[in-house]
Each structure stands twice: as C-alpha cells, then as structure tokens.
Amino acid sequence: MAGQDFQRREILRVMAMAAVASHFPGFSKWAFAAAHPGASGTQIRPAKYSPLFFNEQEYALVEKLTDLIIPSDDTPGARDAGVAEFVDFMIAHDSARQYSFRTGLTWLNAHSEKLSGKPFLELSTEQQQSVLEPLAYKAKFRPGEEDGQQFLAKMREITAQGFYTTEIGYKELDNPALRLYAESPACPHKDDSEHKHLPAPIW
C-alpha cells in the first residue's frame, strides 16, 4: 500500500545519504547543514574548514560576502549552511572561474580602500552594505564599478546555489521536495480558479 511505499522510500533515501556522507571528508558545516535538526551528533562543532582554493584572507572575505548576501536573520542564513565551503569547493574544481573570483576579491578590497581607506573586512557591517549597494542594484549603479557589479552577480549566483541546495535552504523555502505525496497534488483553491481572493501572503 501507499503508506508502506513511502516508508520504504524514506529508508532508501536515508541509506543513500549514509552511503554518500562517507565520500565527503574534510567538510565541516556541509554535513551538518544536511543533517536533520535534533539528530544525534549535530551539536558537536566540527574542526575548522581548510580551504582548497582560497587563502585564509580570501576565504574569510568569501564567507563574509555569503553572509551579507543571505544573512542569518529570523531564519538561518548562508553562514549557518556552510555556503563558503561550497563556494571554495566548486571554484577549486572549476579552473574556468578561478581567475575571476580571485580578481573579484582583490577588486573589492582595493575598492574598499579607495572609498574608506580600509580593506572590506575591517569595515562595519553598515559600511560593507553601502559598498555593495551600488553593485547589487541596477538603479544605484555607479559608472566605473562594472567589474564589481559582475563579481557580485557571480558571488550571488554561487551563494544562492550553495544555500538553496542544503536542507537549511530547503526549509527556508518550505521546499515541497521535503515531502512525498499519495495523490497528484491539486490546487486547494476550488472556488477561486482565478486566484483573486487568496489568503494574505505568509511572507
């Protein structure tokens, strides 16, 4: 019956995860981001992550940028989901993107020095945000900052990829793939096919 099927599939899924987990030595937060909350072992803080591609200063800057792009606010953010580890791992395996990421980080520090006499990480969070604003919004763009604009777009892309592919990211969106369905899911708004009278948005 359907219920048994679901149980069996859940078991398959857990087995697949267990088999895979052993393939990822060296990651600290990645495995933790994936674990179910309350599962045993999640409270142990892992050893410090050793970057594969970026140096320590670059890695700290990457981690800060992921945190600024998807912050921990009323829900967990990129730092909680270990996104910087994902960025480092992917760039380490992608020679085509290594140059642009490294030069992008250099550009950002030089830009920050030019604006306020300090490298990016030494600025306050508010100052960091005001450096990013013109790079992040078309309406606030300042000519001459094209390189930074392109770099931030790349950081945002890889941060979104790293965040929304963790269980934390799935929960952030209440991703329907976290559940299984016994029947073809149907629109619940039977008397409102045009969807003009929906309940108030939940976010």
Partner: protein, 560 residues
C-alpha cells in the same frame, strides 16, 4: 560447431527496440538483442530520491566534466555514466547539433519526458492539406487501434479533449491542475488558446502490476518503481520471461551483414569490453538504435549489393532529417501567488499540461507558417529557485524576495516541428572514425524559415497568455535551443509507398531488403507537434505483427 541463427536480431532496446523484442519474443520468435551499453540497476543507478546535498557537487555536476552541449541532465550527478561520450560525431560547417545518447539498456526511455500524444490525420495528411512534401503512407484509422493497445500496455494519464488535431486515447485519470494551471488557463482562454492536460505516460493509478506514481518529481533521473513507462521496467522482463531473448550488452552495432543475395543475414558488432568484432546471425534484422544512429549503421553497411549503404537504392537514407525546435517562448511570474505557501508544482517534472497545436486548424494556411506547434507551460515551486540567480539585491530583502517569489515563476517551452529540406541530412564523415574504427555520423542541419516563424509567433502568444492571466511577462529566449536538444530527430529512413522516394514501406520494412526493418523515429516523415516515443512504440507494434505474420507463413523474406 554450426553457427547459431536467431529468428531476429534487434539493434537497440529503447522504445522501438524494447517493443520489438517484447512483441517478437511473445510470438515465440528467438531474438538476439544488441545494446551498446550496460544494463542499469534501478537500486544502484537511479539516485532520484537523493537530495542535492547528498551529491558531491550538489547535483550541479563536476564543473571540470560539464560539456557545453549538455542539456542539463546528461552530466548531472543523478545518473552517472550512462550517456554516450566515447562515440563522436561531426557537424558540417555552420551546423550546430547536440546529440545526447543514452547507451544504457532501455536507452532514453529510462529518463524520457513521458509526453505521449497520438499523431492524427492532420499530421499524416498534412501534405494534402497545405501542399508541402508528401503524405504519410498510413491513415489514422489504421494506426488508432495500435495506439489504444500501447496506451493500455504502458498506462497514459490524460483527459478526453475532443480535438481531432490531437486525437483522444484510452487514458488513466489525469494529473490535477496546480494553482498556476488554473490561472494560466484563464489567460489562455481569453485569447482562444487551449490549455489542457498533457497525455503523459505516468501512472495516476496502479496499472499492470506497477504502482501509481509517488510524485517525487525526479522522473528525468529514472524511476525506482516503474511508475512511468520505460523499456527495462515494462518490456524487457516480459520478453525475458518467454526465454526467447538473448540480450548482449556493451555490443556496439557496426553494420548489417548480407547474404549472397544482398538480403540481411545478421549484424556485426563490437564487444566494447574486449574490443573484438563479433557477428551474430538472424533471419531478419530490426534496426532500432534511434534515428541518427540507425542511419549511421545502415550507411556503414556497404557491400557490393549496397554500395551506398544497405536499403539505399532510393538515395534517401540519411536525407530528410527533421527535429523539434525547443526554446523558452516566454517567462514571467504570477503576482497572485506572491508570498503564498509553497506547493508541489514539480511532481511530474513539469509535464502536467500542454497547449496543443491551435494554429492552422480550420484553414491550413491561416498563419504566416504552415503546420503548427505545441507549447508546454510549467513553473511554480521547483526544487531549485532558478530566478534567485537573476534577482538583484542582497541581504534580508533579497532572501525575503526569493521566498516571496517561490510559487510564482512561469515559463513556456515551444515544441515546433522543422520540415524536410534538402540541406538537412546525415551522412558518414569520410575522415573521422570512432575509437573502434567505425566511421562516424556527420550532421548537416539548419532551422528552416517555417519553424523560425513558429518560434516568433509563439513568443507573442505566450507573452500574451501571461499578461491575460494577470501575470508579469519578463522576457523570451533570444535564440531557440541548439538543434538536437529535443532528442526528437526523425525522417532519415522515411516511410513511403514509392521505393524511389522512401527507404521503408508503410510497415517500416525496407523496400530493398524485405527482411530488414526500421523501428524508430527515423521512419517518420517529420516530428509533427507531438512527441515521438509513443508513436515509435505504436508503429513498432504494427511492424512486428506484420513481421510475425510473415514468419508464421514461413516467408520472412517476402515483400509486403
């Protein structure tokens, strides 16, 4: 030792090959089937229930291995090592072509899109209606009973729609509409465009011993329960139960062998493990390796009887290559759904609905193009929020916007048939050989004017559907996807009554070599606005019953 002679050698185990193997074995014929790759084990090879964080590269695939022409699923991490990368092909100057080939047993049916509409007389008699090209040598009336049998066999979910251009079949209950379907359907209705259930070979009820779908949405990565049709789940076990099948894996077909009269006598293949060439003999041969590969095998089957390739006295073998133009005609979002709770919109991997051909129905020339196209709408909550990459901003505002937009994205994919033209064809590259020394296929292909007019037309219509639905239109692809993307190539062994104009007759039997049959989409005259798989199975069932009848009469070599 006397050499073993099978009744039939079948090259390929996908939609056509699988159906041929099952049908022939169940009729008591001894079959030897050749498949270019290995057999998959759904338990080990299908990772459809894994989550992205269970994958080394979070399902994006190893960047170092990613190829520019990968349509997204080929080198993803969900299924590993089943797509052909070893056998190259070439393209003529100016041709762009991608050719994803699954060499695992069952071929592309392991991972296919599952849309399963019937061809109709509007397709078979298109030439009579608009004067372009020639009619198919079959009528809907004679094909329809075979469609019904295939639908009952595999299970297709849809609704009765009463549109002669998209004939109704025998269906399981359809998938339910999602919120976005109700909204878009209203928009489509306002401009007279149909927005209906797709016909999909995915079970909404238990069927023929297979469980109903469990709505995980990962069909493109294989199914662990056989809840959508695939040859390895549904056909091959039935064939094996008859004990009439010998399946040889890692067997790359090289050429069809001929006897002293130029008739088919077997197949030479390469055992990819030992790299040895092996011959296997049969009273008849079925070529079902997929359109372009079947063509390569036949063009490479040269002998003094067939200097230009077997069964090619017409010179039509390899000609008439057609393909579906794919591309995103429009995308946008539905503000009605902003901030609403998430909903499992992707449970069928986005083939729940379609907008079946509505153009040129009353009058074959009412549009600026002839024939017609269909569109697959999709959207809503997907496993990965792709729009997040293009969204601007950062911080809590960005994070909240991604969440608010989650249920709202919509997109429309066009499926438009190219028509035959002299400049689109497959031949053998005179200089390039694969690692086994077999000359490779060379593709010559350009989109024609007619299909590009459909593409432009679809952009306007789909943008208007979004607007009429109260949505926000955000853009269209500048260019259609690369030719070959649809995996629906057709036409290179086209069927026809005139042996001078066609490679096979109306039964898929080659005109020149009566014991050589073609059972894949290469026999179709073009793609139509529908997908090819269910029609491959339907025509193959008919072809095989024709062949069985000749064996029963003891005349496998008789002409029809």
């Amino acid at each position: 030792m006397a050499k073993q002679i099978y009744d039939v050698i079948v090259i390929g185990t996908g939609a056509g090959g699988g159906m041929a193997i099952k049908t022939l074995c169940e009729a008591g014929l001894k079959v030897c089937a050749l498949n270019a790759g290995r057999r998959l084990d759904p338990k080990k090879d299908f990772r459809n229930h894994r989550m992205p964080w269970d994958m080394k590269f979070r399902s994006f695939g190893d960047p170092a291995k990613r190829r520019a022409d990968d349509p997204g699923f080929v080198d993803a991490e969900w299924v590993d090592g089943v797509w052909e990368h070893e056998i190259p092909f070439t393209t003529a100057p100016g041709t762009k072509w991608m050719w994803p080939r699954c060499f695992a047993v069952g071929g592309k049916t392991n991972f296919w899109g599952r849309s399963s509409a019937r061809f109709g007389d509007i397709d078979f008699r298109a030439a009579s209606l608009d004067g372009y090209d020639v009619d198919w040598p079959v009528t809907y009336e004679e094909i329809a009973p075979y469609y019904s049998r295939v639908e009952r066999m595999i299970g297709v979910s849809s609704s009765v729609q009463n549109r002669p251009s998209n004939p109704d079949g025998e269906y399981l209950p359809p998938f339910n509409f999602r919120c976005l379907d109700h909204i878009l359907q209203k928009g489509a209705e306002k401009i007279g465009v149909p927005y209906l259930h797709d016909r999909i070979s995915q079970l909404t009820e238990n069927h023929e011993g297979f469980p109903a779908c469990h709505y995980c949405g990962a069909c493109t990565f294989g199914c662990d329960t056989g809840s959508f049709f695939s040859s390895p789940w549904r056909f091959l076990p039935k064939a094996e139960a008859t004990k009439n099948l010998e399946l040889r894996t890692n067997a790359l077909a090289k050429n069809v062998l001929v006897d002293k009269n130029g008739m088919a006598s077997g197949v030479a293949y390469i055992d990819r493990k030992t790299k040895q060439e092996i011959e296997v003999y049969g009273r008849a041969v079925v070529v079902a390796a997929s359109c372009v590969e079947s063509t390569r095998i036949m063009l490479n089957s040269k002998s003094r009887y067939w200097p230009n390739g077997i069964a090619n006295s017409s010179g039509q073998l390899g000609k008439n290559l057609c393909d579906h133009l794919y591309g995103e005609s429009a995308h946008g979002y539905l503000p009605q759904l902003l901030g609403q709770p998430s909903f499992p919109d992707f449970v069928s991997d986005n083939t729940i609905v379609w907008m079946p051909r509505w153009q040129n129905l009353k009058n074959p020339r009412e549009e600026k193009f002839i024939r017609g196209y269909s569109v697959y709408p999709g959207g809503g909550c997907s496993e990965f929020p792709w729009y997040a990459i293009g969204a601007e901003g950062f911080g809590s505002a960005y994070k909240r916007e991604v969440k608010r937009r989650y249920p709202t994205p919509v997109g429309f994919t066009i499926q438009a048939p190219s028509l035959r033209q002299d400049t689109n064809f497959v031949d053998i590259d005179p200089e390039v050989k694969d690692p086994y020394g077999i000359p490779v296929a060379r593709i010559h292909f350009q989109w024609g004017e007619n299909v590009l007019k459909m593409w432009e037309h679809s952009k306007e219509v789909c943008a208007e559907v979004i607007r009429q639905a109260g949505g926000v239109y955000e853009g269209s692809d500048d260019e259609p996807l690369m030719p070959g993307w649809s995996l629906h190539e057709t036409g290179t062994c086209r069927m026809g009554n005139d042996p001078k104009q066609a490679v096979t007759n109306r039964f898929g039997q080659t005109h020149d070599v009566p014991n050589l049959y073609v059972c894949d989409a290469s026999v179709f005259l073009n793609c139509t606005d529908k997908t090819t798989t269910i029609s491959i199975m339907t025509f193959t069932l008919r072809t095989c019953e024709h062949m069985i009848e000749k064996f029963r009469r003891g005349e496998p070599l008789a002409k029809s």
